[in-house]
């Protein structure tokens, strides 16, 4: 399993556009991918799950990928978060 912490820097937090881009980029992976915020863990392949967290700007989230293609999945996550300008780590 690979795990990483990200800080959400977009002033609007994790809103629909970046969340859609992120979720949309992950459906092709076999691994289980989760995001945890304030002790709540959701499936990162689920747009409803991600939106239900309501992650505001400035907060940190833990993302974990577990499975055969976990490394590749984490790379994609980092890239998309960067491209969308919502996290710069």
């Amino acid at each position: 399993m690979v795990e990483k912490t990200f800080t959400i820097t977009d002033p609007a937090g994790m809103h629909a556009r970046p969340a859609s881009a992120l979720v949309g980029s992950l459906s092709k992976f076999q691994s289980d991918i989760t995001m945890e915020f304030k002790d709540k863990k959701v499936n990162l392949k689920s747009i409803l799950g991600v939106m239900s967290l309501g992650v505001p700007s400035g907060s940190t989230v833990q993302i974990a990928a577990d499975g055969a293609d976990e490394a590749e999945a984490m790379e994609t996550i980092e890239r998309v978060l960067n491209e969308q300008g919502i996290s710069n780590e």
């Binding site: 002033p11 859609s20 392949k45 409803l48 939106m51 400035g58």
Partner: protein
């Protein structure tokens, strides 16, 4: 000819045939199914049909309207592919032997309830998305056809019970000349979009679906909130003239967008906008705002469960200052309390919240919270022309205390090596009569005044503005108010300072000539009123209005003032 009245939601006149956007009744019954595999397959089929349909609508919306409006369908598509939605539905069919309609309804209701329970407008809209998607799949399961507005290719006015977000983004102004809904208000999603698309709309019409047939000729008067059915020839002519006049006026206003605000006798005044979030900047720029006269920072604090951090505030303030490109930007420090509460800030219940611990009083009571905001503002100051304004100042001591905190934070930041602008003006809102009366003393210490008329009227007339039984006392033209306004403006000018106004009154057609005569320097209003005000001011002479001032201030009642100005 029939007439229906509703709420005017978007300006303009539309004349076209009615197109009823039917919202079929989709009732869900619980049934037992024996062959769950076939039922799951039937559900998958309906989802796939919905996906195909959404792909078409998305493409069409992107081509005909914009990518931005099409994005909502991208989100809908993701919802349809969401394992957390689809998984539980198929599990339910499998384990409970129920029909797909019931399993879908149960599962999506859970998500809708969850989003609706969130204390955040944005999340509440996500509930509408889930409902929208569910309706589409349900219609396919039940074999009911849903009409899609993007498929309309005739000039029509759309009549509907209500418009879903996915309906509204498909409204192509080329064909949809206007719309009428039976429910909704001025701030509902569809009303806001109508104003963006600049198509006339009447909402809250209650009986439109019940009384308008397909093909009926309909006139929508979005200025008055009136709907006329089957108009006679004379009425048609009258409304066509009104339509031309409106188009002419709009063209005239558009020409004024990049112009300065100059009166007939060549005096320049400043027209600013009131905003609540950085998102409102677009409207300010589109309407030719010369300044931001009031940035209400409390919205940053609302709809969340903890205080915004210094960084979050810095980001928001910087975005606004950068967006204004050096134009004056008046930021009001936190104005919470009274009718505005924060869920995470538990304040004791007060008998008279409007006379209680609110705005600057609360900030001085909670200096740590206040200091965070001041630091964020000071750090952002290098990105534009920042002016800081304290709300609800009643005494000079309060102003001095607030300003001292500001200077302390500035010194601290500078010691930390952070760059802070040296030309930040520091002013106050004038909304309490004691401050208006003492304006000459205040003017020696503050850099500017901004008159907040809603509260100034409420406190001067001793009339709770939330209480409908005393709403007749909300009298902006009452000579008592006008005399206070004059006291404030004169006091500021005597010290070489300036006075603005950021209440409803600053954009009011009757008030504008009076305020011009009184010497108001800056008028701040909702962005959509700016061009109209600029047009009105270009036809007024300041010298003329100054000549009327003494007479107006000597009138006895609000009504007398109104009548006098109307007959000028």
């Amino acid at each position: 000819m029939n007439r229906i009245s509703g709420i005017a939601a978007s300006n303009g006149i539309a004349i076209a045939k009615a197109f009823r956007l039917e919202n079929p009744e989709l009732t869900v019954d619980k049934k037992n199914v024996a062959d769950t595999q076939a039922e799951i397959q039937r559900f998958g089929q309906a989802v796939n049909e919905s996906i195909a349909e959404l792909e078409v609508i998305k493409k069409r919306t992107a081509e005909e309207i914009s990518d931005k409006e099409a994005a909502i369908f991208g989100a809908h598509l993701l919802v349809l592919e969401d394992p957390e939605l689809i998984g539980p539905i198929t599990d339910k069919i499998n384990n409970d032997n129920v029909n797909a309609e019931f399993a879908l309804h149960e599962t999506s209701t859970m998500f809708v309830d969850m989003f609706e329970a969130m204390d955040n407008e944005y999340m509440k809209e996500r509930a509408a998305d889930v409902r929208d998607v569910t309706k589409r799949v349900l219609a396919h399961l039940l074999g009911v056809k849903i009409q899609n507005p993007s498929m309309i290719t005739d000039e029509v006015v759309v009549i509907a019970e209500d418009l879903t977000p996915s309906d509204t983004v498909q409204l192509n102004p080329k064909y949809i000349k206007g719309f009428i809904t039976d429910i909704g208000g001025r701030t509902s999603h569809s009303a806001i979009l109508a104003r963006t698309l600049e198509i006339p709309a009447v909402v809250g019409a209650k009986s439109a679906m019940g009384s308008i047939d397909n093909g009926t000729i309909v006139i929508i008067d979005g200025l008055e909130g009136e709907i006329l059915l089957n108009p006679d020839e004379a009425t048609l002519v009258e409304y066509k003239e009104k339509q031309t006049a409106f188009a002419g006026q709009k063209a005239e206003w558009a020409k004024l967008k990049n112009e300065a605000t100059v009166t007939k006798d060549g005096v320049e005044v400043e027209l600013g906008a009131n905003i609540g979030t950085p998102k409102d900047l677009t409207g300010v720029i589109e309407n030719g705002g010369e300044a931001i006269g009031l940035y209400r920072t409390e919205f940053l604090y609302m709809g969340r469960d903890e205080f915004p951090t210094e960084q979050e505030q810095f980001d928001a303030y910087s975005a606004v200052l950068k967006g204004m490109e050096g134009k004056p930007t008046v930021v009001r420090t936190l104005d919470i309390g009274g009718d505005k509460e924060l869920s995470y800030l538990k304040l004791p219940k007060e008998l008279n919240p409007f006379l209680g611990l609110r705005a600057i009083r609360l900030c001085l009571e909670m200096p740590d919270m206040f200091r965070t905001q001041l630091r964020a503002l000071l750090r952002a100051s290098v990105h534009g022309n920042l002016k800081i304004m304290f709300p609800m100042i009643a005494t000079l001591d309060e102003f001095r205390e607030a300003k001292a905190l500001l200077l302390e934070e500035k010194a601290k930041l500078e010691a930390e090596g952070v760059e802070v602008s040296d030309s930040i003006e520091v002013g106050i809102m004038v909304e309490i009569p004691s401050t208006a009366v003492m304006a000459d003393t205040f003017a020696k210490e503050v850099d500017f005044f901004s008159i907040g008329t809603n509260d100034l009227i409420q406190y001067t007339m001793a009339a709770d503005r939330m209480n409908e039984s005393v709403s007749y006392l909300y009298q902006p033209y009452n000579p008592a108010i006008l005399r206070l306004v004059k006291t404030v403006i004169d006091a500021s000018h005597k010290e070489g300072k300036w006075t603005g106004m950021c209440g409803e009154m600053a954009g009011d057609e009757i008030a504008i000539p009076i305020l011009l005569g009184l010497g108001l320097d800056e008028f701040s209003m909702s962005a959509s009123s700016i061009l109209k005000a600029r047009s009105q001011l270009s036809r007024l002479s300041k010298a003329d209005m100054e000549g009327h001032t003494e007479h107006i201030l000597g009138l006895a009642t609000s009504q007398e003032v109104e009548d006098y100005v109307k007959n000028l």
